[in-house]
């Protein structure tokens, strides 16, 4: 996916001016967080499970090579194949070749953020293979040729009316000429259109929520069951997953599943949880004849052992963005690439470069709500701050910010000078603001006064000046 992260500020302007988006975000902000809160409250051991989930992922990351090799061994023993893809380009090439080798004309895809990360659809189209998104949200945005705006609810930026218009435009040629207005009717129409595509697809491609080293299984959760059709009907099943998705055992998966759905949607578990363990065995009634797992690195191994390693614990529940007031204001597209919200603010600079995505870790108040709900306790604000430190070290911080900070720190490190200057500023602001008690505009502070009044200090001097007068 082409990044627009370097246009973050323009993206923000567009997002804030989009009434449909703002409508959708208003619903999202309340809905997701409220459902997660209730789900967490219903489970007394939820906080303890978060600790266990964190520990499982930490243990796996500390032994990642071991568990990946173990996973590969198991998949091979089951009769499947494992492909190692160091980069996005490698993964595209491998999948393209597998699809061509299978003589595929269409590929049924269930929702995969890693497929977005490697821009798989664009590549398949280039080589003459039609990718069909089978997750409802992904299907809608594929029709609209838009990127997802949320990692678990890709079309969350759209209103029902926009979906109705999109379906009318694209389904008309299939004989659906009535504009639908009811949610259920829209779902039914999409289901009808997609059903035949499942049957016709030559290859099914899914992501994975977890790869279980103990059994060689890939594990998927969905609420629509589309993944199950994608991986059982076609002749070939390709699993595309990044390397940090591996976990040791099924027991571990059970712990992670318990925090995943609750954190994501407030469900106790997703409607469908599916384990794929190799190709169809002799005697099996259905299942794919060929089973391939593509393991993508794409920069993740370089995060191991660094101060950013904790981001690799992420299980992609989306809770951080659901609770982020910045995401809630601007939505996912403004972040400019695949992963939005606090997760994206940490991961995107890693995957596409901080030169491009430098605004993302800066556009945060460090309110900490993301960290407080993260099921694997990733300290997201701390990791965003690490990016700011790297930007500062590499002189990527904007010059005006650097100069302002240098001036401020010169003064702040000289208490007596600071005291004199603070006294002066206090008296000036008090004097000229005394009539109204506030300023509607202030030189050098237009970022503030464009939207807010600036409170003037009352007369009488700074606290320190008054204190030394009273208690000498």
């Amino acid at each position: 996916m082409e990044s627009t992260a370097h246009h973050f500020r323009q993206n923000v302007g567009t997002a804030l001016a989009d009434p449909n988006l703002q409508d959708s975000l208003a619903k999202l902000k309340v809905g997701f967080s409220e459902r997660r809160r209730q789900a967490a409250e219903r489970l007394p051991e939820f906080e303890a499970l978060r600790d266990r989930a964190r520990d499982i992922k930490n243990h796996t990351l500390a032994n990642l090579d071991f568990y990946l090799e173990e996973f590969e061994r198991k998949v091979l023993a089951l009769g499947g194949h494992v492909h190692w893809a160091p980069t996005a380009a490698d993964a595209r090439r491998i999948i393209g070749e597998l699809c061509r080798g299978a003589g595929a004309r269409t590929v049924a895809k269930s929702k995969s953020m890693v497929a977005e990360e490697i821009a798989l659809n664009e590549h398949l189209e280039e080589i003459g293979i039609e990718p069909i998104e089978t997750d409802l949200g992904e299907y809608i945005i594929q029709l609209r040729r838009e990127p997802p705006s949320h990692i678990i609810a890709p079309a969350v930026h759209l209103t029902k009316d926009q979906v109705a218009d999109t379906f009318l435009e694209h389904h008309r040629k299939l004989g659906f000429t009535k504009r639908l207005t009811e949610r259920n009717d829209l779902v039914a129409e999409a289901r009808y259109v997609l059903r035949q595509k499942f049957v016709d697809a030559d290859v099914g491609l899914t992501g994975a929520n977890f790869l279980v080293a103990e059994t060689g299984s890939s594990m998927l959760v969905t609420n629509e069951g589309n993944a199950d059709l994608s991986n059982t009907l076609p002749r070939m099943h390709i699993v595309l997953a990044s390397i940090e998705k591996v976990i040791p055992t099924l027991e571990d998966a059970a712990v992670l599943l318990r925090v995943l759905a609750r954190s994501a949607t407030g469900q106790e578990s997703s409607a469908y949880t599916t384990l794929n363990t190799g190709p169809k065995r002799p005697g099996d009634l259905d299942g794919p004849e060929h089973y391939h797992v593509v393991l993508l690195d794409n920069g993740r191994s370089g995060v191991l052992g660094t101060e950013m390693q904790e981001i690799l614990r992420c299980i992609r529940c989306g809770a951080c963005m659901n609770h982020c007031p910045v995401y809630g204001a601007i939505g996912g597209h403004a972040y400019g690439w695949v992963y939005p919200g606090p997760l994206g603010a940490v991961l995107t600079p890693q995957l596409i470069g901080v030169e491009d995505a430098g605004n993302l870790p800066n556009a945060s108040t460090f309110c900490g709500r993301c960290e407080s709900v993260c099921p694997v306790r990733i300290p997201l604000p701390k990791l965003m701050r690490h990016w700011r430190e790297r930007e500062f070290e590499r002189h990527l911080t904007p010059t005006a910010v650097r100069q302002g900070l240098a001036l401020w720190s010169f003064v702040a490190r000289r208490p007596r000078l600071y005291r004199r200057l603070a006294g002066l500023a206090n008296r000036m602001l008090a004097l000229f603001g005394r009539a109204e008690g506030r300023y509607r505009g202030l030189p050098l502070a237009s970022g503030w006064t464009r939207f807010r009044d600036f409170p003037a200090p009352p007369a009488g001097g700074t606290f320190h000046a008054q204190w030394s007068r009273r208690r000498p």
Partner: protein, 278 residues
């Protein structure tokens, strides 16, 4: 035998429990730069509350800023230099108390991590961290204050500032004390825990996003039916006051310490009038 064991255990328990006599007495007030510059009455309110709780309050003259502007811009070297200055300024006090969760959190949660490669400084940073507090948490959790003597005739809504809430667990303490104020009625807004959009330099680096956030906050405040907004951090208060006033709202904005110290008759933040506390 039973009695001997019981006596031994109880003696140990009683020695280990914090007692009034073991409570910190010599307190340093960390004024914070915003209070010093824009709202000195918050500092005096803090002094009043601490003295009423039986503390002796000092204001070390060499304090300036906790270093957050540098820390959150990624300038670790400057942050360390400023932290070292703060650590020296507050040496030797039983407790350091700030009328701010943000600055209090900086001292108690972030300083030690700045000195990972300097064990001597890290030990001093940890020592300071262990005796640094946000004002509300200090009054209630450490000094055991349950009520205050103050009067405020109004309906008050309390905003949970982020660092105080999520780093320091400041949530019930200010509400408990506010409920003891004569004439005061608490009216919760729908989402008191959602950030107001201040975020230090964030509000001027990304003014449009900050504005969207504080706009939503001001709507929530107005819907609460309160005539007064209080919070424990001046940065958030100035942001919310500025937005409310730009929108023409009649809601008054005050620091929670001012209301608790009986200084609720001062002109509110951003309102004209003489502000030197009596």
């Amino acid at each position: 035998m039973h009695a001997i064991f019981a006596a031994a255990i109880l003696a140990t328990v009683s020695q280990s429990l914090p007692r009034p006599s073991a409570r910190p007495r010599r307190i340093a007030l960390f004024v914070t730069c915003l209070v010093d510059l824009f709202r000195p009455s918050v500092g005096f309110a803090a002094v009043k509350l601490l003295e009423r709780a039986g503390c002796t309050v000092d204001v070390p003259p060499l304090q300036v800023c906790c270093g957050q502007p540098a820390y959150n811009t990624g300038d670790r070297a400057t942050t360390r230099a400023i932290a070292a200055q703060v650590i020296a300024a507050f040496d030797g006090y039983d407790a350091v108390v700030a009328p701010s969760g943000s600055c209090g959190g900086m001292l108690s949660h972030h300083y030690p991590g700045l000195f990972d490669d300097d064990p001597a400084m890290q030990a001093r940073a940890k020592d300071l961290a262990g005796r640094s507090y946000e004002l509300m948490a200090f009054l209630v959790d450490v000094m055991g204050i349950e009520t205050v003597e103050a009067r405020y005739d109004g309906a008050v809504t309390y905003h949970d500032s982020c660092s105080g809430l999520r780093e320091l667990g400041v949530k019930d303490q200010p509400r408990r004390l506010l409920q003891s104020v004569d004439g005061l009625a608490l009216r919760e807004m729908k989402s008191p825990e959602v950030c107001c959009g201040f975020g230090g330099t964030f509000c001027v680096k990304y003014p449009e996003i900050s504005n969207a956030m504080v706009g939503e906050k001001s709507a929530d405040i107005a819907a609460s039916g309160a005539d007064t907004l209080v919070a424990g951090d001046l940065g958030c208060l100035m942001n919310m006051a500025g937005k409310l006033q730009r929108e023409g709202s009649p809601i008054h904005v005050r620091h929670v310490a001012e209301v608790l110290a009986g200084m609720g008759d001062l002109p509110a933040i951003g309102e004209p009038g003489r502000g030197e506390p009596g």
